[in-house]
Every structure is written in C-alpha cells, then in structure tokens.
C-alpha cells in the first residue's frame, strides 16, 4: 500500500463514499439457477443426475401410491383388481386401522378412552413445552398422569387417587422437613409416600374394580401405536428429571453419591437396551417380593427409563461442562445456595446447550419403544409382524404396513425435532 500512496502519504478523507446498489446481474431467477444448479460443468452434470434420480423415484412411487386400493378385504382381492397394474394395497391399513393403533385386544367400544387421553396429553404438555402459557395450567399437567392412567387402564378410581395422595403426602413432608435438612426432607418424603401407598392400598377392597365406572383393561391388552406413544411419553418425561439428577450427582463433591451415579450410568450405557428389556420381561420379577405381580408395562417403563436417563445424564453433563466456571462463581458470590444456583443459573444454561443432545436421545428412545415387540408386547411393529402379517388375508403386504409405521414415527419425531429448533431460537439470548 505504501507504494501506491507514495506521493500522498498525508491523506485525509473529507467526504464519506456514498452507498450504492449492487450490480444488476447479481439478482433474478436465472442468476440463481446459474449460480446454484449450473455453475460449473461438473455442477451441471450433478444437477442432471439428481433430477434423473428424483424422476425415477417419483415415477415409480407416485403411481403406486395414487393407484392404491383402500377398500378390499384381502391381498388376493387387491391383486385381482389390479390385474398386474402397479398399485398399493392400502386396504390393509383401513381394515386393520384399529389394530394398528390400539392393538388387537383393547375392547373396541372403549377406544374413546385412549383417544381422550391422547387429546388431553396436548393440554397437559402445552404448559411444559410452551412456557409463555399461564403457569396455572401446570396443575392439570400434574394431574394428567393419574387421569391418563385411569382412562387407559380403567378400573377403580381409587387406585390413581391413592397414587396421587401418596405423591402429595410425600411432597408435603418434603416441604415440611427440607428447611431443617435436605436428607430429612428427601427421605422423609419418600417414606411418607410409601406409607400412604401401603396403608391405602390395603384398604382398597379386592373387588373395587368390578363395578367401576370404566371397565378394567389389563396391560397385556394394550398394543399398537398407542403402546409406543404411552411408553415414549412416559419414559421421556421420567428420564429427563432422573437424567438431570444423575448428571448433577456425577458432579457432586460427595464421593458416595458421585460413585453411585457413575456406576449406574456406566453400567446402563454398557448394556444393550434389548438385554434390559429381556431382564424386564423375564428376570425382574425375581427382584420383587414373590406374591407381587409387577405389571409388565411398568417393568418395561422402568428399564427404558433407566436406559435413556443414563444417556440424558451424559448429554447434560456435557452441557454442564460447557458452562464457564465464572457462572458458578457469579452465583456463589451472590450468596445463592446450591439448589438455587443450579435451578436459576446453571441448569437453565446447561439444559439449553444440551437441547440437541436431549432431543437426539428422546427421538432415539421413542423409536426404541418398538423393541418391546421382541418381548412379545404387541406395539405397532409387533402388531405388523405378528397378527397382521401372519393372517391369511394380508400375508405379504410389507411396503404398505411398514411404510405406514415409518410415517407415524416420522411425524412424531419430526415434530419433536421442529419443537426443539423452535425452543433453541426462543432461548437464544447470546446475540451472536
């Protein structure tokens, strides 16, 4: 530069150069095409090749989809009508619709119950997912698990009420004793809940479910996509708080807590989920008292929750590690105690960083609920592989059924992913 301005080293700018519009050739659709699709010969070649692949896929699949039949009663009938023409046999979906959604044993006149539970799920989840909504709606969220249990399983209303009372009693004791010491509040609360459950459980008469308002449906009669949704929602919502607790426990200064968490996480992560599910279906009953028949659904929920909470714990630990030490010091220097610092400063930021990872685990977990089909629970995939494909009418209808299953899972998982992206934008305050 010094050469060019050799004669004018002492330079002073007196006017500002005015802003001017970009050259005209930098805008327009043709410009966009040339820049993005046909920039170089190799680029043009790739564009053409990609267009060809798209054409092949669509020309194969579109006639199949739009030529599909919806009203036949068996695969043979489909073939008869199609006469060699391409076309899907979607009739299996319309004929077995209820089985795909609810399993093959859930009483057909009671389908409104899971439907209502599903509808209410949106109201229960809304205040948790969208925190601009009034906080009072969280009361309904708290009641929802008990309500949904009653709707889906039916039986005596006393069961969910006792369960709710146990939680409330535990929470009261916790609140009462937390001021004196954390341990007293924590273990006191758990003990109180168990006392209420045992005492009230003994009081509920054996035949309470016989003439209940909603007829009782045993867990083995649940099935279809409903079962996947139930497992997914329950396990994700349980494993997030447990995962947070494990992540914090792993960072604890108290060696006992720390090692319990480390051993739990490392053990669970080192075992395939399918093994845990076999343990749930076959072996877990050895750990319970001989007479107790712990429900298979509950056993599966425990195993999947343990599995995913170990993963979520590690994701959150990454978020905790990403926070600068100054945030801990800032919170400490203001006199916040440990629970306050975690709740107000550390976790909101660590969880925000962990959102993509948590969503990753949640989506994976939701899809992994199909693994319960190998322990003979008839979830969506279990229904397809079992009763439907094994039937004489529909033996051989793979694409339609598995495509439908894929579509259902895709819709839910894509929804979760879109929500998480919205959440990340909503929480972005760093203005980079």
């Amino acid at each position: 530069m010094s050469d060019t301005h050799a004669q004018t080293v002492a330079f002073v700018r007196e006017t500002t150069i005015p802003e001017s519009p970009p050259p005209a050739a930098e805008t327009g659709a043709i410009k966009w095409l040339r820049q993005n699709l046909f920039a170089t010969p190799a680029n043009s070649l790739l564009t053409v090749a990609a267009l060809y692949v798209i054409w092949v896929v669509l020309s194969g699949s579109l006639p199949w989809i739009f030529g599909g039949l919806w009203t036949t009663t068996s695969l043979a009938e489909c073939r008869e009508i199609l006469q060699g023409r391409t076309g899907a046999c979607f009739s299996v979906l319309s004929e077995r619709w209820n089985q795909l959604l609810y399993g093959f044993k859930y009483p057909a006149d009671q389908y409104w119950r899971p439907n209502l539970a599903f509808l209410l799920l949106f109201f229960a989840a809304a205040p948790v997912l969208f925190f601009d909504l009034p906080r009072k709606m969280l009361i309904f969220t708290g009641l929802y698990p008990f309500l949904a249990y009653w709707l889906i399983w039916g039986g005596s209303l006393l069961v969910p009420i006792v369960a709710l009372l146990g939680f409330l009693g535990g929470a009261l004791v916790y609140q009462r004793f937390i001021k004196t010491s954390f341990a007293a509040g924590f273990f006191g609360g758990i003990a109180a809940a168990f006392v209420i459950w045992t005492v009230a459980g003994a009081i509920i008469p054996e035949n309470a479910s016989d003439n209940a308002m909603l007829s009782s449906v045993p867990s083995r009669d649940l099935g279809g996509f409903m079962l996947n949704m139930m497992l997914g929602v329950t396990c994700v919502s349980l494993s997030l708080p447990i995962g947070i607790a494990l992540a914090l426990g792993r960072q604890s200064d108290m060696p006992l807590i720390k090692w319990v968490c480390v051993v739990f996480i490392e053990f669970i992560r080192g075992v395939p989920l399918i093994t845990l599910l076999f343990v749930a279906s076959v072996m877990l009953s050895y750990f319970f008292p001989p007479e107790s028949t712990v429900d298979l659904f509950l056993r599966v929920v425990i195993m999947i929750t343990m599995f995913s909470s170990a993963y979520i714990a590690e994701v959150i630990r990454g978020g905790l590690a990403a926070l600068p030490k100054g945030q801990y010091e800032g919170a400490d220097s203001l006199g916040l105690d440990y629970p306050q610092a975690m709740q107000l400063i550390i976790l909101p930021q660590a969880l925000k960083i962990s959102i993509p990872g948590i969503v990753n685990v949640a989506v994976g977990l939701f899809k992994d609920t199909t693994l319960v089909s190998v322990i003979s629970m008839f979830d969506l995939v279990g229904m397809i592989r079992g009763p439907i494909l094994a039937s004489t009418e529909w033996n051989g209808v793979y694409w339609e059924l598995l495509g439908f299953a894929a579509l259902l899972f895709f819709v839910v998982c894509y929804g979760i992913s879109q929500y998480s992206q919205w959440l990340e934008r909503r929480l972005a305050t760093d203005h980079r």
Binding site: S333, L334, G335, L336, L427, D430
Partner: protein
C-alpha cells in the same frame, strides 16, 4: 481528590485475616497473610501476576478455600459451615474480571435475582432497587436487554449494580478493568470512584495506578504470595521502601 484520600475511616473492623496460608497442591500460593480492613476503607492490592492477589480476595468470600489461619468478615468467622459462607457471600459483593453476568437473564433479572431468592425481597421492591442502582451506574435504559447486547464496560457496570442490589457492606473487585478496551475503562473506574466517595468498604485488585492514587487509603503490594509492602498511596508511590516494590513501580509507571 485529597479529601477522599484522607476521609476519616471508622474504627469498626470489617475484615480480619490472621496468619492465613493457602496451597494449590504443593504450591504455597498465600503465605502468612495478616490484614485488618476497617469499615469504609478503600484498599488497592497490586503486584505482578501470579503473586496471589486475586486468590487473596477470593478467599474472603470463600470462592477459594484457605487451609490455615482465620478469616473473619463482618463478625462472621469463615468456616466450612455452608450457612456462614452463604451469609458472608450475601454481605460481600464481588465484581469479576469477566463480569460473570448471567447471559440467559435480562439485565434487570440479573440484578433482582439474588435479592429475591437470597434476601426474599418482594419482586416489585427488588426491581425498584435494581432500577435505582442501574441509574446509579448510568444504564437504566438497558434494563430489558440481555448481557450479550451490551459492551464490556456496560456489562461491568451492570455487574457492579448487581452486587450493589444485595446492599453489601464490603465490595471486592477482581481486576474489574483488565478485560476492557481503554475507552471503557474510564466509565467503570468512574463508577467505582463514585462508590468509594459514598464510603463503601472496597478491596480492589487492579493495575490502574491512577485509580489507586485517587481513591485508595491504603495500597498493598504483594509478591510471591506475601504482602511485601503496604502504605498510604502518596507514600507508597513516591517513597516505596522495599526493592521489589521499587522495581515493580518503575516497570508499571516507567513508560
């Protein structure tokens, strides 16, 4: 300027440190520190990097643990008891080199968080107090922004306001201007000078010698984890006694 330096300091003791020692592993980082700070005193601590000056003031609010000796802040002895530590921390404000504002909260929320949760102040009252102190540091118009939207100097002034909202009796400053552009240093120093003139007890680790001359009643020079020299600023700068201090001052003021 002269008046502030000679302002009468009360006889009430704010901080006592007796025979305090601290090690990082085998490294003896603070050696036999003895220091008494009176209410209303403004102390500047200076020294080469690694001399333990930051560690010293971080020991006062237990951000660092000391292994030997006794620290008493405002009548409370610093021990392993978490209740004592939280009590001291709520009485002692601290400003950091990197501000340590909470990026997920607005400026106002940063300022009201500790009063609401630690002091149990009603939200409205806490917000009024926060606005009062934000006005004092001259950025009330930024109250609804997030820390990431502010300049470094503004962030440090928010950090000062955030500490003041707890109505602390003592303020600690850990190199508050070291991470700032030269243009922003002045606005932070002005805020600190104003605070000093109101009689706040201040311990300040800084390399701003102009600030030390103007507001400090005592300058402490540390080297290798020990207090090497302490004196009134006039004497300290014009007539340093120890050779190490002379060398340090000649290097820092020489250019």
């Amino acid at each position: 300027m002269a008046e502030t330096a000679q302002m009468k300091v009360s006889d009430e003791v704010a901080i006592t440190i007796q025979n305090m020692n601290k090690w990082y592993g085998a490294f003896h980082v603070l050696r036999d520190i003895n220091l008494t700070v009176y209410q209303g005193e403004r102390i500047v601590i200076c020294g080469p990097s690694g001399s333990g000056k930051s560690t010293l003031i971080r020991c006062i609010n237990a951000l660092e643990e000391h292994q030997q000796g006794k620290i008493e802040v405002d009548g409370t002895v610093l021990s392993n008891d978490l209740k004592n530590i939280d009590k001291i921390r709520s009485e002692v404000g601290m400003c950091f080199q990197h501000f340590n504002l909470f990026p997920h909260l607005t400026i106002l929320e940063n300022c009201t968080l500790a009063p609401i949760w630690v002091r149990k102040t009603p939200k409205k009252e806490a917000e009024e107090t926060a606005m009062h102190f934000l006005e004092k540091v001259k950025i009330p118009e930024q109250a609804d922004k997030y820390p990431g939207q502010l300049s470094g100097g503004q962030q440090q002034r928010v950090a000062i306001a955030r500490s003041l909202c707890m109505k602390p009796r003592i303020m600690l400053f850990d190199e508050p201007t070291s991470a700032l552009d030269p243009e922003m240093i002045k606005e932070v120093l002005d805020t600190m000078i104003e605070l000093a003139e109101e009689g706040m007890t201040m311990l300040c680790v800084t390399h701003e010698m102009g600030f030390a001359r103007q507001v400090a009643n005592r300058v402490i020079f540390m080297d290798q984890g020990q207090i090497v020299e302490q004196n009134e600023p006039e004497e300290f700068f014009n007539n340093p006694k120890s050779e190490r201090t002379q060398l340090f001052l000649s290097q820092i003021l020489g250019h």
